[in-house]
Amino acid sequence: MRPTDSFDFAGNVSRALADRQLRRNLRAAMDTLIEKRNSVFPDPQETEALRERGAAIKRRALSRLPALLAQLEEKLTANGIQVHWAETTDAANQAVLDIMRAHGATRLVKGKSMVSEEMHLNPFLQRHGIESMETDLGEFIIQLDNEPPSHIIVPAIHKNRDQVARTFHEKIPDAPYTEDVEELTAIARRTLRRKFFEAQVGLSGVNFAVAETGTLCLVENEGNGRMCTTVPPVHIAVMGLEKVIEKLEDIPPLLRLLTGSATGQLVTTYFNMISGPRKPGEKDGPREVHLIILDNGRTRILADPVMRETLLCVRCGTCLNHCPVYTRLGGHAYGFVYPGPIGEILTPQMEGLARAGVLATASSLCNACEEVCPVKIPIPRLLRRLRRDMAAAADTADPLERLAWKGWALMNRVPLVHALALKAGALLGDRLPAVGPLKAWTGVRTPPRPAARSLHELVRREQGVQNE
């Protein structure tokens, strides 16, 4: 499901809501994630202090972004890591391909990376005859089914074990049918070990890039990230330019916030800090390490004093887990790479309001996302701002809707019109035929029943409010 210009959000929503299996899978998963998160943040005051610290670290890094990126580049280069800059996802893809070609490489193993999803790297490499193998178990499952991830952290969360069992049996040569999760995992381990062994290039994302020392940090549980960054002779890392942080000492609070919010872990199995390629005398590790730093609209977002807070995000996915809308839809309905509340603010800014602004409507503004965000992004406030921007872009609004709002404004300005409208509502309210936009509205809602007499009328007739 690639995003297209004819992105049909309403249709996606209807389809997702009608999928009972999907809703069951998601509800169970989100409840688990919420419970696990709560278990590692037991003290509200400590958690609040930690979130304040995390937000301050990231906000400071954003405010010094030009200096920090320059420092990062200098340190990485001194450490022997080659830095590439990409303004667009096309340029980033091309940079990956150029490195592959320089080595005559045709096989790549990949760790989980949202930026590589943003780039649509896999289909790009396939078109150029390169096998790009996802190695995170969740990503491996959905790659076999040719689907995009439905969650930032647990990409195959929309599938249950029966669905995975069928996929493995059908798509992996010699894989027996089994619904045993340990056996399914063992099948993936066997299949991918061979890929790690053979791969010429490994690709990864970056969770934090430390300017002070030129260190790329990767957070993971499976060990596939370490495999991709250690076994193949070449390692390519890709990151959005907002991932840079100032100092090593910034890592512990951010790591605690990230793993706690993402999966409810005190720390993940592996926290991998890479500061260079193999040095003379060292016996393993890649001989070349490249970092591709991607803009893709981020500098534009940074220029807006309100919306720049979007760039604080550490991609933990906890706003998805706590969102009443995401929990009912899953990630695919959002049509683009980043789903849930963070996607609702990020995607319209990356793709433009005309194409993806509708995502900003997918929220009840209940504030759950802001309450749990580890770096305190005011997501509801940013959503309201995007909605205002959309309303201001009048040429995109429905003419009928504009007319309706003009009528509403008139009614509330002129008392006579207001009184007449109320009378008309009381008389006709129940009998209005459900056609056109009214039908669209009442099709999914119980229509309100106007009272026979308005409050104003009652107050006048009864000479005040009794039985207060």
Binding site: E52, F197, M227, L302
Partner: protein
């Protein structure tokens, strides 16, 4: 192309940050308080919670403990990094003419020369640079002598830790060991054997990295 991209990006960054006053650094975190619990106990509890075997042994008895572990797990081949003190003790405990199991294999050449064998070895043993008690994690600091893949490719990873190198927190370990003075090619925190919960949140250990993690804590 990349040069143009670089200058375009920096031009936009500088413009974007023009009205963005520099945000102050948060106050440094308080140093680790004197722990009110035994650090070794806390470390052990946290590591066991992520399915790690922790063996606490007197400093001079660690090779005997290793012998028991190796026998129990029927480890036939054990990979290690030659040239460290740990390696010397290993080599004298398992001389070539000695008992057959385990066969010690020194990681003494570049990975390209023995990749196939590496992927078939039963277990790897490494030193550690310390550990973190509050979250439960080992600090690994691979070197020329002790390459990165010993702790990753074999299905069992045995780590040897000196109890006095357990720090209360990650921040404390980093500060006391002065990491900011220079980082190695690769440094790692390891908390348990590799794991996944990507299918229905069912926790499965041993996905791409080791299936088992064993820590030998040497106490003085």
């Amino acid at each position: 192309m990349s040069d143009t991209a670089r200058s375009n990006i920096f031009a936009r960054l500088t413009r974007a940050c023009a009205d963005f006053p520099e945000v102050a650094r948060p106050r440094p975190a308080a140093p680790d308080p004197a722990p009110d619990v035994d650090l070794i106990d806390l470390f052990q509890e946290r590591m066991e919670a992520v399915r790690t075997e922790v063996h606490r042994v007197p400093r001079n008895d660690w090779t005997a403990a290793l012998a028991r572990i190796v026998e129990e797990k029927q480890i036939q081949s054990l990979l290690y990094g030659p040239g460290t003190r740990l390696a010397a003790e290993l080599e004298s405990a398992w001389p070539e003419s000695g008992p057959p199991a385990p066969r010690l294999r020194a990681y003494d050449a570049a990975v390209e020369c023995f990749k196939k064998e590496l992927f078939e070895i039963d277990a790897g043993i490494t030193t550690t640079r310390g550990a973190i008690a509050d979250t439960g994690a080992l600090i690994l600091w691979p070197t020329e002598q002790e390459p990165r893949l010993i702790s990753l490719v074999p299905p069992v990873h045995i780590a040897v830790l000196d109890a006095e190198n357990i720090y209360p927190s990650f921040a404390g370990a980093m500060a006391q060991q002065q990491w900011s003075r220079g980082m190695p090619t690769n440094a790692l925190l390891v908390s348990g054997p590799s794991k996944t919960a990507d299918i229905e949140f069912t926790l499965v250990f041993g996905v791409h990295g080791p299936e088992e993690l064993v820590v030998i804590v040497r106490e003085s």
